[in-house]
């Protein structure tokens, strides 16, 4: 296959032409383009799809895959596939179009999908196949069908067909679409039935409505008349009591008509005025009392002058008094603190120096630079001391370590010269595997030779030595074929002659039998008899003629003649008798002409058959002698071979087998020679290696030891020596490093000691101002400096406190002066009192004076208000009295006390007038439009008792008519609504539409259901048919393959019946234990699937055009044993069709090299 421009490839060739059909192992690491190559193969055969993704390097227009295809029959096809819409198959030179049918012819009807299913298997298929076996419970029919087609998802397809069909329809279901639609359909039909309105129903309702309407009009007329009459009588009946009451009221009114008519609120107004008068008088009294009380209170108040004017100054001194008191308290605490600090400073000084007082202490104060100098020297001292100590510790430790390294060096053994050995080992390491291969070859050759010997025996050539075999003059196939033809021809000829003889004999017999039959029926007259009879007649006639001519007649002749005629007494009698006889014969000849002719023909035939038989007998003799000659020649041909020949037909295959035997023998010889050469090379290498080893003091093991082990031994020795050398070098490096470290440490120690001496001098000068000696330690000097600093701090704080005490004393004096001058001005009686007391008393007096002042202001305001109140009360009394006087005048009374009487009279007259108006109003309402007087007159004319009877009668009639009208209204209502319901609605039409829509849906679903159902049925029939035809061979072959692939873990396979009687496949362990598929591991199920697939494929190949079988890395879940066994099985398969095995596992390549017959295995690599 040539990947000219496809996917990642540019002009890459994959050579799968070697190894016969061959097991082609194609190795490619991940991303090497393995999948692209696989796809290219498929696209080559079936075209590149329109939306191919393999154009990422080459554009669509230049995609090309080419190949040389060798069909089982016919010529090699060289072709190239390009991408496009038509004419995509081109000749090998890409120059012209190649008919697609050329390719189709050698694909044996296998289209792209079937090719993918049947001739390609990848790991996913295998896993899926295995899973299907377990989940499908090992159903034989399905497994056999799967095996024979490569279809992995058979069960899934079957289930989905059933499930989809079930979703559409189930005979007893309700939910499926079709069931549901059918139910809907009958529901619609029912509804349609109900929705359809029959014409006569409409007409009936229409009629009823018309009748009810006209009847209702009549009743309404009558009802109106009666209602009018009843209403008049009712009005008069209601008016009669009203008329009587009106008369009474009129009489009473006439009596009360003289009273003054006062306003309706007259009484209320009077009561109100009297109440207001009482209130005003009470107010007047209270105001006068209050005014007197206020005058007394104001005159009793005392308010001294002067204090209010100095109020601000008094308040200010009162505020300052607080802070004065606090300052006096603070002063005591400050004094205590100051004295304490001074005491502490004195103590400190005493601890440092006895000779100095606090007053002289300033002489001890140090400069800042002097302090820093002392501190810096202290730090330098610490560093130096530490370094000197370190140096003194490190030196002895280093000396000890150097001694240890020297000891280890002395302990190491001396190195040996291994250069030569290294060279030999580097030279070649393949000799180990080669030797193994040589040994295997030796064994194989022996086996092959035994095979040849056995075959030789089988050919009955046991006595012939192997060397002589080739020289045997065994005839060639062509020669044997000639003999076979000769024998066949001779036998044929003999058989033919036999047949002809039989035929001729039976024909002759037949002729004789028919002649006899004729004879037995009745003798057939012959021409000869007639001639004879006529001769006798004519003889007689001569005599008779003579008698008639009266010529003399010889008596003897007459007697002789008479003798011929028994019973004849005279010549005439005799002549007449013979005349009759001759005529009779002639007549019969004429009459039985057919029988005569038949007999003549039969006789002729009989004679002819006789001759034929003789001729045949002669020919047969010749043929037999030919056959004998051929047999003799045949035996002569085989004489020199020393084999007594069987028939040429049997000897053809014999000769073929013989030639094959010779070929094998030749091949064995070539292999033997190759093996001998290999052995020499191996031995040469062994002796070279042994020499080196002996040189290094190793024992010579002779040629018994395999080269591989020898090499291993040499390698171990070399490695030991190399380790030793590495160790010695490491130790030397350690020693040198430690010696250098020791020298460095010594030098550093000396420098530090010099440094310490210089420090001593500087230190003495620095601590002198502190009054310390040179041998004082830096820590002691620092402590003295810190004490001094603390002393000076305390003295500084005591000075600050003294200043604050002086300030407080000054403030107190100023405040006392201010207070005494204030008291002198506003309260001379307080002179001589202490400052505190004076301030507090002044403040109290000011407060009292302010209270009295505000009380006076309040009383003055209240007095004004009371005066106003008194004035208002007096005005009100005057107004009310005037109004009451006016009311008395209106009612015509002398005084207020007469007013209630007048009010009662007025009320009486007013009530009577209102009642009269009410009665008139009632009558006006009942009069129905006429005047009150006219209506009263009308009422007078009616007899009340008779009217009540008339009214009762009218009411009854009205009720009857009302009931009937209501009935008619109901009828009209219901009929109207019935007719309204029949409004030309399209409900029924819509239902008819729904029915049609439902039918439309049903139609589609029915077809779909039928498709699914028939598909499921056809599929299961095909499965069953294929099972019947192929179960035996496929299972038998799969059993063998399964046993091989599982390395004998299983002995084979068997069809058993499961609990429900279905045939299922089970595995059989050695010893006969049965393992159902559910009991197999995933891996084993995968292998079972593979065994079945391969068996199915082989079955296919028995009858059909072979196509290459593409295997894509199916062994990744197999252990090495099973993988090796599978590779062998695939190698076997490759003798029937090409097997192309893609893998990205390198170990599988080496596994195949070890396992598979090298004449079949071809390796190649892509992407490298």
């Amino acid at each position: 296959m040539r990947l000219i421009a496809y996917g990642p490839f540019t002009d890459t060739a994959l050579d799968w032409s070697r190894g016969g059909e061959g097991l082609h192992l194609v190795f490619g690491s991940n991303e090497a383009g393995k999948s692209s190559a696989l796809r290219a193969l498929r696209h080559l055969l079936y075209g590149i799809p329109e939306r191919s993704a393999d154009n990422f390097v080459h554009p669509y227009a230049s995609l090309r895959v080419g190949a040389c295809l060798r069909p089982a029959q016919g010529q090699v096809i060289e072709c190239i596939r390009r991408k496009g819409r038509g004419n995509t198959l081109r000749t090998g030179d890409d120059a012209s179009v190649l008919e697609e049918s050329v390719l189709h012819r050698c694909l044996g009807g296998v289209d792209a999908d079937l090719f993918g299913a049947m001739f390609a298997i990848d790991h996913a298929d295998l896993v899926r196949g295995g899973r299907e076996i377990i989940q499908g419970g090992g159903d034989v029919g399905r497994l056999v069908f799967s095996a024979g087609s490569g279809i992995v998802n058979l069960r899934e397809v079957q289930n989905s067909l059933e499930a989809e069909a079930d979703q559409l329809f189930r005979p007893a279901g309700q939910k499926p679409r079709l069931n549901e639609a059918l139910a809907r359909l009958s529901r619609y039909r029912r509804e349609l039935q109900e929705a359809q309105l029959p014409g006569r129903e409409w007409a009936g309702h229409d009629e009823a409505l018309r009748t009810a309407r006209s009847r209702k009009a009549l009743i309404e007329d009558e009802l109106r008349t009666h209602q009018r009459k009843l209403a008049r009588l009712e009005r008069i009946e209601q008016a009669l009591p009203v008329l009587a009451r009106r008369k009474e009221l009129k009489n009473a009114w006439e009596a009360a008509a003289g009273a003054v008519l006062l306003p309706e609120d007259f009484a209320d107004k009077r009561h109100g005025l009297l109440t207001r008068l009482g209130i005003a008088e009470r107010e007047k009294r209270q105001a006068r009392q209050t005014l007197a009380t206020h005058g007394d209170a104001v005159s009793s108040l005392d308010i001294p002058s002067g204090l209010l004017e100095s109020s601000e100054l008094i308040e200010e001194t009162h505020r300052e008094l607080g802070s004065q008191r606090k300052a006096a308290k603070d002063r005591i605490g400050i004094e205590v603190r100051r004295d304490t600090l001074r005491g502490e400073a004195g103590e400190l000084l005493k601890s440092l120096r006895d000779d100095t007082s606090l007053e002289q202490v300033e002489g001890l104060r140090m400069k800042k630079s002097e302090v820093v100098k002392v501190q810096e020297l202290g730090a330098r001292y610490e560093r130096n001391i530490t370094r000197i100590q370190d140096g003194r510790d490190r030196l002895p430790a280093l000396a000890r370590e150097i001694a240890e390294v020297q000891e280890a060096l002395r302990g190491l053994s001396a190195p040996r010269p291994v250069e030569a050995l290294r060279t030999v080992l580097a030279e070649d390491e393949q000799w180990g595997p080669l030797e193994r291969q040589w040994r295997k070859e030796q064994t194989d050759l022996e086996v092959a030779l035994q095979g040849v010997m056995l075959q030789k025996g089988g050919l009955r050539l046991g006595a012939v030595r192997l060397e002589e075999l080739e020289a045997l003059p065994v005839p060639y196939a062509e020669g044997i074929r000639l003999f076979e033809e000769r024998f066949t021809a001779a036998t044929q000829r003999l058989k033919e002659l036999e047949r002809e003889t039989r035929k001729a004999r039976s024909a002759s017999d037949e002729a004789r039998r028919r002649i006899e039959t004729l004879r037995l029926e009745r003798e057939v007259p012959s021409e000869r008899e007639l001639t004879q009879a006529r001769g006798i007649r004519d003889e007689g006639w001569v005599l008779v003629a003579r008698v008639l001519e009266q010529e003399p007649v010889c008596r003897e002749k007459v007697d002789t003649y008479l003798d011929k005629t028994p019973g004849a007494l005279s010549l005439a009698d005799a002549f007449a008798s013979h005349l009759r006889t001759a005529d009779a014969i002639a007549d019969r000849l004429y009459r039985e002409a057919e029988r005569v002719a038949l007999k003549a023909r039969l006789l002729a035939e009989e004679a002819a058959h006789g001759e034929g038989l003789e001729k045949l007998a002669k020919e047969r003799e010749e043929a037999e002698s030919d056959t004998q000659q051929a047999e003799a020649d045949w035996r002569n041909l085989w004489e020199p071979v020393g084999v007594s020949p069987l028939s040429p037909r049997q000897m053809g295959p014999w000769a073929q087998d013989f030639r094959a035997l010779v070929e094998r023998l030749k091949e064995i010889r070539v292999r033997q020679a190759r093996a001998a050469t290999l052995k020499e090379d191996i031995d040469a290498y062994r002796s070279k290696l042994t020499r080196c080893l002996v040189g290094l003091g190793q024992p010579d093991s002779g040629d018994k030891e395999p080269v591989a082990i020898l090499i291993k031994r040499a390698r171990t020795l070399l490695e030991e020596q190399e380790d030793l050398e590495h160790r010695r070098l490491d130790l030397l490096r350690d020693k040198a490093q430690r010696e250098k470290e020791m020298a460095d440490a010594q030098a550093r120690l000396e420098v530090s000691e010099g440094e310490l001496k210089r420090w001593q001098e500087e230190w003495e000068a620095a601590v002198r101002p502190l009054g310390l000696d040179a041998d004082v330690l830096p820590a002691q000097a620092t402590a003295v400096m810190e004490e001094l600093k603390s002393l000076f701090d305390k003295l500084k704080e005591a000075g600050v406190l003294q200043k604050r005490i002086e300030g407080i004393d000054r403030d107190t004096d100023e405040f006392s002066g201010k207070v005494s001058s204030l008291a002198e001005a506003v309260a001379p009686d307080l002179a001589g009192r202490p400052t505190d007391e004076t301030v507090l008393e002044l403040n109290n007096r000011l407060k009292r004076c302010r209270d009295a002042h505000s009380r006076k202001e309040t009383l003055e305001k209240q007095t004004e208000k009371e005066k106003e109140r008194l004035k208002l009360a007096e005005q009100a009394i005057v107004q009310v009295t005037a109004q009451l006087r006016r009311m008395c005048e209106e009612a015509g009374c002398q005084g207020v006390e007469e007013l209630p009487e007048a009010e009662a009279r007025s009320k009486k007259r007013r009530e009577l007038e209102r009642d009269l108006r009410d009665a008139d109003e009632q009558l006006r309402r009942l009069s129905a439009g006429s005047t009150v007087e006219a209506f009263a007159e009308q009422a007078q004319g009616v007899d009340a008792d008779a009217a009540s009877g008339e009214m009762e009668r009218l009411r009854e009639r009205i009720d009857e008519l009302g009931a009937e009208k209501s009935r008619l209204d109901q009828t009209i209502g219901s009929e109207t609504s019935e007719l309204a319901r029949m409004d030309g609605s399209a409900r029924a039409a819509e239902l008819a539409e729904e029915i049609q829509t439902t039918l439309g849906g049903l139609e589609n679903d029915v077809v779909h259901y039928a498709r699914l159902k028939i598909a499921a049925k056809v599929l299961s029939r095909a499965i069953e048919r294929y099972r019947e035809k192929s179960q035996g061979p496929i299972l038998k072959r799969a059993a063998t393959l399964f046993s091989r692939i599982t390395g004998g873990s299983f002995e084979g396979l068997r069809a058993e019946f499961d609990d429900s009687g279905h045939p299922v496949i089970v595995g059989v362990r050695p010893g006969g234990t049965i393992v159902p598929v559910e009991g197999m591991s995933d891996g084993t199920a995968d292998q079972l699937y593979l065994a079945l697939r391969l068996a199915g494929l082989e079955r296919y190949l028995e009858r059909s055009e072979p196509l290459p079988f593409i295997v894509d890395d199916i062994l990744i879940r197999f252990d090495d044993h099973r993988a090796a066994a599978t590779l062998e099985v695939l190698a076997d398969l490759s003798r029937r069709t090409q097997v192309i095995f893609f893998t990205h596992h390198e170990h599988l390549v080496s596994l195949a090299e070890r396992t598979v017959d090298p004449s079949v295995l071809v390796k190649s690599t892509i992407g490298a």
Binding site: F169, A195, Q196, A203, A988, V1007, I1014, I1023, Y1026
Partner: protein, 421 residues
């Protein structure tokens, strides 16, 4: 100068045949189409202020029993009465069979020609004489035209007749008549009904089938309506077709030849549909789809007819602007000759294909296979079992057609592995 309308074959409330409802189908647009078309007739008559309206038979379906249909008709006739337009009706075979006809009372503007003899009615206002006769029985086999009276002199003579004329395919042979006889009556216009495809049998004087007012199934394609006939002062007749239908039927014949994939076929359908939509005057369309030709997509489509039916339906929903209802889809596809494999392969798949071939060749075994469908067959409504498109689940030919779809369905489902090897 006056005008009148000539219509026939209203078939009020007769439903559309077997429209399968699906998501996106314009259900509302198709509802009560015959009523709406009749409504259009009434509106046209009023708008054109015609002198009268002629209906040459078949107001409703013969087996339709709902009196509401009659009431609706009466209400519409009432609208014409209010506009002062008389209506002349000759009952046809369906009307004669209808129970509605027997009880319905038309308003006074409607005149029904008598059934047992021909009659002449005059429209004095415009000087027209209308001659006609109704069917007395549904199967009227006599030539009624022979009994029609001679033309009334000085009037515009119009013959109204429900007839199959000299016979028309798909129509019952009722009241046959010959053009010769019609011509000899000397009428100015013959208004014929019964044949649903409109046709002008003769130009002068016009002899016209108006066709029905609304197509109701896939065979009644194209615009449907009535004729607006004008008569000028010299008695010259002008004829003009006016469409009344609210929904139109069409057939989309999609050539799938050479298509590479199912989607390409759908694309071609869309292009074809777009033309049909343009031709449909903006009316909702019911489309019967026939996909034909030799294509590589054959297997892809036939292996999943259900799916591709839905693809075509949704394409129609999308590109038909919501106004297209795909009635039915027939796939008549073959693989291109060059891509057909010449042999049946070996192995199990070969066995399956052999079995399919055998079934193809042996009607007997097909019928036996049909027994699988017996349960369903028993339950199928009679509408689906009769007529030219009947589902004959036990018929060898029907099953043969089905098997042609079963083959790719099975092969595809079993062998489809994608592009991987």
């Amino acid at each position: 100068m006056f005008t009148f309308l000539h219509a026939a074959d209203i078939h009020l409330d007769s439903p559309f045949h077997k429209l399968d409802r699906y998501e996106g189908a314009p259900v509302a647009e198709f509802r009560q189409a015959t009523r709406r078309a009749f409504e259009n007739l009434v509106r046209l008559a009023i708008a054109e202020k015609v002198a009268f309206v002629i209906i040459a038979g078949d107001l409703y379906d013969g087996d339709w029993k709902d009196y509401n249909t009659g009431l609706y008709l009466v209400s519409r006739m009432g609208a014409l009465r209010d506009a002062g337009i008389p209506v002349f009706v000759a009952a046809g075979n369906h009307d004669a069979a209808s129970a509605i006809t027997k009880t319905l009372r038309f308003p006074e503007n409607v005149t029904l020609f008598p059934a047992h003899h021909p009659a002449t009615f005059l429209v004095e206002k415009v000087g027209a004489a209308l001659h006609g006769q109704s069917f007395a029985t549904p199967a009227e086999k006599r030539d009624l035209s022979r009994g029609y009276p001679p033309a009334v002199p000085g009037r515009c003579n119009i013959g109204v007749l429900h007839t199959c004329a000299s016979g028309r395919e798909g129509h019952e042979p009722y009241a046959p008549c010959s053009l010769e006889v019609l011509r000899n009556k000397g009428y100015d216009y013959w208004a014929l009904g019964h044949v649903h495809q409109r046709e002008v049998l003769q130009e002068d004087p016009p002899v016209v089938f108006s066709g029905n007012t609304q197509g109701r199934h896939a065979k009644e394609t194209g615009a449907k309506g009535c004729y607006l006939v004008s008569v000028d002062d010299h008695g010259r007749i002008g004829v003009q077709f006016r469409s009344l239908d609210v929904v139109r039927w069409a057939t989309a014949r999609v050539d799938a030849g050479g298509a590479e994939s199912g989607y390409e076929v759908v694309e071609r359908f869309i292009r074809h549909l777009e033309e049909l939509v343009v031709e449909s005057d903006g009316l909702p369309l019911a489309v019967r789809v026939e996909v034909k030709g030799e294509t590589l997509a054959c297997d892809e489509i036939l292996s999943d007819v259900d799916r591709w039916t839905n693809e075509i339906r949704s394409a129609a929903v999308e590109s038909g602007g919501g106004g297209v209802w795909v009635e039915k889809i027939a796939f008549r596809l073959r693989m291109p000759v060059g891509d057909r494999f010449p042999h049946v392969p070996g192995g199990a798949v070969g066995e399956l294909l052999h079995l399919l071939d055998e079934l193809d060749a042996d009607p007997g075994s097909r019928v036996e296979l049909g027994a699988e469908l017996a349960d369903l067959e028993k339950k199928l409504p009679r509408e689906l079992k009769t007529g030219p498109e009947a589902l004959r689940l036990e018929d060898e030919h029907w099953l043969g057609d089905l098997l042609a779809q079963v083959r790719p369905l099975l092969v595809r489902r079993l062998l489809r592995k994608g592009d991987a090897l």
